[in-house]
C-alpha cells in the first residue's frame, strides 16, 4: 500500500514526536555564550521574521538566498501581557503570556515570568528579556525547555 512505512524498526516508530520544532532558538552551552532566538532577514527589504523562514511575506522572492539567518535581540518591549487561568495540558495555571516587540520589528509570542507579576504589572512598554527555561511538562512528565521572556 502506498505510503506504508516498511521500516523494520517498529520501536522507533512508537517514540513520541519531537515536542518542539527545531531551529527556533539556541540555548547556551557554556556561561560565556548567550541564548538567542533564530530569525530570518530579507536581504531585499530588510524585514525580519521569527521563526526563520524561506520566503519574505512582502517580497515573495523565489530565490531563497534572498533570506539570511539572524540572531534576534534578547531584549524587547511588552506589547500585550496577561494572565490566563485555563491552559493546554502540561502548563500550570494561572500563568502569564504575552507578545513582545523586538527592536528588529518582530513580535514574538511567549510565556512571561518575573517577580510579582500581576495583570497590573503586565502593561505595554515594559521591558522584557529572553531566557531559556522549563516552559512546561510533556505527556511523560519530563521538563520541556525553551524560550520565555522575563519582565524586568
Amino acid at each position: 500500500m502506498a505510503g506504508q512505512d516498511t521500516s523494520k524498526d517498529t520501536k522507533k516508530g512508537k517514540e513520541p514526536l519531537p515536542f518542539l520544532r527545531p531551529g527556533l532558538f539556541v540555548a547556551p552551552l557554556s556561561s560565556e555564550e548567550t541564548p538567542h532566538l533564530i530569525g530570518s532577514r530579507c536581504k531585499l527589504c530588510g524585514r525580519v521574521f521569527f521563526p526563520k523562514r524561506t520566503v519574505c511575506f512582502d517580497c515573495k522572492h523565489l530565490d531563497t538566498s534572498t533570506m539570511e539567518e539572524v540572531h534576534l535581540s534578547l531584549k524587547g518591549k511588552l506589547h500585550t501581557g496577561l494572565f490566563v487561568h485555563a491552559a493546554p495540558e502540561g502548563f500550570k495555571t494561572p500563568y502569564a503570556i504575552g507578545f513582545i516587540d523586538l527592536p528588529e520589528g518582530v513580535r514574538v509570542f511567549s510565556q512571561l515570568v518575573g517577580e510579582n507579576l500581576s495583570d497590573e504589572v503586565l502593561t505595554a512598554g515594559r521591558e522584557a528579556e529572553m531566557i531559556i527555561e522549563k516552559i512546561r511538562e510533556d505527556e511523560a512528565g519530563n521538563d520541556v525547555v525553551a524560550y520565555k521572556f522575563k519582565v524586568i
Binding site: 521563526p51 500585550t80 490566563v84 493546554p88 503570556i97 507578545f99
Partner: protein, 390 residues
C-alpha cells in the same frame, strides 16, 4: 455563476451525546435536511463533509466523510472532506455553493458534524488546541483564550468598552438560548452570575465562553429552479465568501484592519446588500467580548460603538438588528465542525418564520452569518460570511 438556494436545513440539538457517534448524529440531519428540501437522497450529486477534530478524538483521521455518508447509503458521488477549525462547515457550505453556482451539479449536501465529548476532557482539549499553529503558539502556551482576552482588553482601552457590557452579551445569548429547543444551554443567567463566574483570563469569565459539545447540522443547496418546485419563496445565497487570515506574523489587526471587516465589505459589494438591509445576524461569539467588535467589523455600528449597541438593547430579539437569536456559541453550543451550518440553519429558520419563540418580527428578509475558525499569527485561520435572503 447562477443563483443558489438553501432548500433544506436541519440540526441536532447541541449537547452531550455519549450514546451517539458521528454517523448517528449525521444521519439525523442528512435525512432532516433532505426532507426539508423535498428531495431524495439519490438526488444528491455532490457532498462536502465538514469535521474538524474526529481524527484526534476517534482516530478516524482520513475519509471521515465517506465513512459517515455510508450510514445513509450515500456513495458513488464526489465527496470532499473539509477541515477549517471552527469555520469547517461554513467551508463545506462554501464548496457546495461553488458546485451548484458553477453549474457542476444541481443538488449538493453540506454537512457539519463534531463529537467532542469522549469521556476524556484532556483529550478533547488537546484536540481543540490544534486549531492554531502548534509549533510556535500552542506548544509555547498560547490558546484562543489569550488572543480573545487580549483583543477584549484592547477594545476596552481604545473605546472604553466595559466588562459589564461584555457580560450583557452573554446574558443576551443565554436568554435567547432559553427560547431555543436546539440549544445546549436553555437557562437564563444574570449579569451578576456572568461577572462572578470563574475568571478565565480577564475580562473573560467562564459564562462568556462557548462550551464544548456534540452535534451535527446539514444543508441541501440546489439550483433555484429545483427549489421552486418545493416552495414559492426560496431562500437564496446572496453571497458566499471565505478567506484565510492574512499573513500578519503576529503584527495583528492594528496594522491591517480587521479581517472580518474586510470580508464583510467584500460580501456587501458582491451581494449589493448593506448592513442597513440586514434583519438578523448570527456571528462567531466563541467568547462573548468578541461579539462587540464583530458588530463593528460587520458595520452594524461605527467603530467603538459596539458596547453602546449592547446597552441600548439593539441586538436583542425585538431590537433593530437582532444578533445570535439562536443563543450564539455561548448558549447554543459549539461543536466546532457543526457550528457554521447550524448558524446558517438559524438564519434560514428566521427568514422562513420558523424560529418559534425567538422569531424576529416582522419576519426578516435578509440575514448574515459570520463564522471564524482557528488562529494563525494573530488572525482567524479561516473566516466565512454568508448572506441569505428570501
Amino acid at each position: 455563476m447562477r443563483e443558489v438556494a438553501v432548500s433544506g436545513v436541519s440540526m441536532t440539538r447541541f449537547g452531550k451525546y455519549m450514546e451517539k457517534g458521528l454517523r448517528e448524529l449525521s444521519a439525523e440531519v442528512i435525512l432532516g435536511a433532505a426532507n426539508d428540501a423535498g428531495i431524495d437522497l439519490k438526488d444528491i450529486q455532490f457532498a462536502s463533509v465538514g469535521n474538524s477534530l474526529a481524527g484526534l478524538i476517534t482516530g478516524q483521521e482520513s475519509v471521515r466523510g465517506q465513512v459517515i455518508l455510508k450510514e445513509v447509503g450515500l456513495g458513488g458521488i464526489p465527496v470532499t472532506n473539509v477541515e477549517n477549525a471552527c469555520a469547517t462547515s461554513s467551508t463545506a457550505f462554501f464548496e457546495c455553493w461553488m458546485a451548484v453556482a458553477s453549474g457542476y451539479c444541481d443538488v449538493a449536501l453540506a454537512l457539519g458534524v463534531e463529537k467532542l465529548f469522549c469521556g476524556d476532557t484532556a483529550r478533547s482539549n488537546a484536540a481543540l488546541a490544534t486549531c492554531i499553529d502548534v509549533d510556535v503558539e500552542g506548544r509555547m502556551g498560547f490558546s484562543f483564550l489569550g488572543w480573545y482576552a487580549a483583543e477584549a482588553r484592547s477594545h476596552m482601552e481604545t473605546y472604553g468598552t466595559t466588562q459589564e457590557q461584555m457580560a450583557k452579551v452573554s446574558v443576551k445569548s443565554h436568554k435567547n438560548g432559553s427560547l431555543n429547543p436546539y440549544a445546549q444551554y436553555q437557562k437564563e443567567v444574570s449579569i451578576e452570575e456572568v461577572l462572578s463566574s470563574r475568571p478565565i483570563a480577564w475580562p473573560i469569565t467562564l459564562l462568556m465562553c462557548a462550551p464544548i459539545g456534540d452535534g451535527a447540522a446539514a444543508a441541501i443547496l440546489t439550483s433555484k429552479d429545483i427549489a421552486r418546485r418545493h416552495t414559492s419563496e426560496p431562500i437564496t445565497i446572496a453571497s458566499s465568501e471565505l478567506t484565510s487570515g492574512r499573513i500578519l506574523d503576529c503584527r495583528r489587526a492594528e496594522s491591517a484592519g480587521a479581517l472580518t471587516e474586510m470580508l464583510a465589505k467584500k460580501s456587501y459589494e458582491k451581494s449589493g446588500i448593506g448592513p442597513e438591509d440586514l434583519g438578523v445576524v448570527e456571528l462567531h461569539d466563541a467568547f462573548s467580548p468578541a461579539e462587540i467588535s464583530i458588530y463593528e467589523d460587520l458595520g452594524l455600528c461605527n467603530r467603538g460603538e459596539g458596547g453602546r449597541l449592547v446597552d441600548e438593547g439593539k441586538t436583542e430579539i425585538g431590537g433593530t438588528i437582532p444578533v445570535n437569536t439562536s443563543g450564539g456559541l455561548a448558549a447554543k453550543g459549539h461543536p466546532v465542525g457543526a457550528t457554521g451550518i447550524a448558524m446558517i440553519t438559524e438564519i434560514v429558520w428566521q427568514l422562513r418564520g420558523l424560529a418559534g419563540k425567538r422569531q424576529v418580527e416582522p419576519r426578516p428578509k435578509v440575514g448574515l452569518v459570520q463564522n471564524g475558525g482557528g488562529l494563525v499569527a494573530g488572525e482567524y485561520a479561516a473566516d466565512a460570511i454568508h448572506i441569505l435572503k428570501r
